[in-house]
Symmetry: C7
Subunit: 99 residues, 7 copies
């Protein structure tokens, strides 16, 4: 697994976006243009956290495996093992889905 | 309920805007253009708060269920269970209505 | 009273501008264009104050009922019970009138 | 006296500019255009000072009655009792004249 | 070795980019235009770290020999012994590859 | 002396620029255009220093009488007793000449 | 020596750029246009360091005589005894060459 071999630095979080829905509920195939941008993602790796002004490590607020809501813009695309992931700063992630 | 399953991060507050009035007091239907932008909203979920410079958590200043006044601009629209909510930073919420 | 039901957050101050003079000292009616912008206002509600870097609450420097001088620009208009009020940050209020 | 009734907030200083010279040393009347902008002013009221990051009040560095040198730009004109005064931040005042 | 003789200052990290692939898996030579920008690099020298607000040295988060992922933009090209290296701030390096 | 009567505030330093050379070493008069901008100046008055974040006074790093090197741009011209002086922030002065 | 008489203030570092190579290894004279910008320099004087937020002096990270690598842009040219030197902030110097 790619996320095993890559460790984000500081407060960066590596996420994998969910795949957009390509078929409507009624069964009709959606062209790529009509597929919405997917803002939901799964956390696959987290950095150790940023160092605050007192010199202490501030851990990130999400953990590997959690499902998060991403902001519409921002993030850095990184390719690991021919698969696309995205790096977001911990503070830019909007929220997480809890059961 | 959607807000049960979504947890905003840091000092973000998830609100649900009140529905605009579609009928005047005199009973006349208002077209969508004439319906004012609704700045009043109900808090449906709050983040744990931001971490201040001393590394301590600073809780948000509103609680779930409170009726708040939103600024005219800003906020991030998020769709949860096909319903529109808005995320605001705690510090951007103008005030709250108390009984 | 509207200000009873609305609580500004953080260091925000809710003020009610004084009504512009519509008649000159000599008794002549002033058209709306000639009425100056009123920068004097009465404080009707104050927030609990902003939280400083040490995590302590810094109370606002004005109190309800005081007459203050507003800056010419800035402030957020809010309508409460069909009456216009303005929200200013405590630090943006220029000064206050004391007896 | 106007400055008795007005109290600047935070580190604001209320000053009264000196009147520009309207007659040359040789006795010739100066038209208004030729009268230089007066940067010297007398302090008529001072705020209690700004609150620093430790939450302590930092008093302003000038006192009522002192003659100060103003920067060429900046300051906020305020009218008190039909007389023009100017509000400057304490830190924007360039210096003071001492005997 | 060049990196032995050059010591980056503060939180700067000297890296050597990996060489772009010039032959496809199928054995076809790639023209220079088709060679992707290489974002993977090896750390060849690190600064002592930046000094934080408390006056203490904050060591950098990577060590010599580690394989890191660079951001697409930024970095300063430096030539040492006719070979190109790049200086990045520690905080700008996206992550590192661990075995 | 003018600098006796004027006290700069905070970390401001009052300097008097040296007069530009108007004659070349060979004895030729220089027109005003050819006279270089003089960046060397003598300190004539210093402020008490700026207040740092801990609320303590940070004295300025130059003293009255020292010869300093000014930056090419910046500084505020002030006229005292019909003579031109310049105010610079302590941190903007590039260096000083020591014997 | 000029650097004996000039003391940079705060965290400024006075450097002397190395002279560009004017002859190729093969012995051909290089026109001025073809001579590269020299980014290597020798430290000739250093300031006492900047004062950090705790009010303590933070010494600069280079010492007189060290060979440093300058950034391509920035720095302030100063002429001392008809010779050109450059002032850089300590934090802008990229690195130093160690034996």
């Amino acid at each position: 697994m790619a996320f095993r071999k890559f460790l984000p630095l500081f407060d960066r979080v590596l996420v994998e976006r969910f795949t957009p829905e390509t078929v409507t509920k009624g069964g009709i195939m959606l062209p790529e243009k009509s597929q919405g941008k997917v803002l939901q993602a799964k956390v696959v790796a987290v950095g150790p956290g940023a160092v605050n002004q007192k010199g202490n490590l501030q851990p990130v607020s999400v953990t590997v495996g959690e499902k998060v809501l991403l902001p519409e813009y921002g993030g850095t695309k990184v390719s690991l093992d021919d698969k696309d992931y995205f790096l977001f700063r911990d503070g830019d992630i909007l929220g997480k889905y809890v059961e």
